[in-house]
Amino acid sequence: MGSILIVAEIQKGAIRDASYELVSFAHKIAGGREIKSLVLGSGVAGQAEALAKRGGGEVLVADSEALANYNVDGYAKAIRAAVDATSAELILMSNTPTGWDIAPRIAAGLDCGFVSDCFNIEEEDGKLVYYRRVFNGKLDARLIPKADQILATVQPGATTPFEESSDGSTTALDVTIGDDDLRAKFVESRTAGAKGVDLTKADIIIAGGRGLGAAEKFEEVIKPLAEILGGAMGASRPVVDAGWLDHAYQVGSSGQVVSPKLYIAAGISGAIQHLVGMKSANFIVAINKDPDAPIFEVAHVGVAGDLFEIVPALTAAIQEAKG
């Protein structure tokens, strides 16, 4: 039996939670396969030790200055070497910016089966079955492999991080990676210019989505409600893409992740990337004309109706309640 290889990621100097979630999945579905891990980067011996002591099994370490920043060619070389060294039949990565960038490339190079952004993996009748969402969260899909080697990426937050301590080991991976291997060159890190709008500190957020239809509608419909409640205005990604509001207002995985006391979502369907940004809000109200919109799964209270009637009516009712 081939092994399960977990490709771990380091964030802010530590193995990130999403990687320990892969460890949880690996332990759930191991079925007798050995669990092995790969830690890559520069100066990562400590992180590799931590993973070895927390379910990572035999941890291979690719430690090179050329891996100090994420780089497609460097990471691909290290991961391929690890797959070969471990005879991996299942390779697990997280669907993070690194995962969605490199995992498909690795899979194509291996000519193996590939599935991304799984929210679950189950063993059913001796085979592994993969579950993920399609159509931006409107439908679920069940996938079955038709190959002996599979690379799967898993949605961060799909399960809980592995917590048990264990006896693992760390071994240097036999691979040399130098700057000459890297066709793309890392230039620098930057932040998208989020100036002055810190939604993470707002107690109340009124967010608008594509359903608003135009930039002016934010001024006309969303802003009055935000103001009367003393809250902040937010937006889903399509609003920012369309140029109706600045990126600073974006709530979601590539914007701000918020957990206010009250989150009102108007005209937002609830694609995964948006839900990641607001589903831990204390109380969520969703207004959308589509009763099947995925947002209603995370909302506490929902209104399947026309936001252009509901939101102004709510603004007026609050105005009156305040007297």
Binding site: P97, R105, D117, N136, K185, D241, K261, D306
Partner: protein, 260 residues
Amino acid sequence: MKILVCLKQVPHQDARLDVNADGTWITEDNIKFEINNYDTYALEEALRTKDAGEAEVVVVSIGPDRVTQALRTALGMGADRAVHVKDPEMDGSDVLGIAKALAAVAKEEAPDLILMGMMGDDGNFAAVGPMLAELHGVPHATAVVKCEKKNGGYEVERELEGGALQVYQLPTPCLLGVQTGINQVRYASLKGIMAAKKKPFAVKTAADLGLAGQVGAAGAKMSIEKVYVPPKGEGAEMIEGSAADVAQALVGKIRELGLL
């Protein structure tokens, strides 16, 4: 220079989706199709490069007859030439099969730059771009939110979580998987749509591209066994009634939260 833009035709983003009879996908009857939203941004990026200087923009798409419309739209927007991979043998391809077909087209075209959206709005796999880059043997970057011709190649910004970005310099030829919002997508002008009718339009089969046995359901290494409406959890407490009734009910909830 030559830019190859890979487009996918997908159900319109507001189309009502019904699971088909055998539960394997959605039914295509009676729904409108459009170019995948992410791919429109890739096409726009290519057309801007063309506007700025000498560039031939070739668009390619895989699928049945209906895909012709998507390619004609792209030609109407300003692309120079279209390649339609049309063959029932492609049915049931997994993402790797799709990438192999596109790699065969890329090999024939030898573009300086390949652009495509980072994912499809239907499958959301976000896989074909990096796979194609590997098969075609070129460097790539995905989630690209900015791309600038610089130092003989491209300087790109790729999007990370929480508003963070990383900047890379890539040589050409390369492949870029583009994120939404990288630009503002143009509409096809009437003049453009009329001109599109005369633009070269090639149709290729799997055999033309040497893909025997590698594509379609037969070649797939991962198979979608079924799609289904997600089981509804408790979900939201739905409030009904007139706008005024709903507003009153919500005011009550907001009061209970101590926020009024």
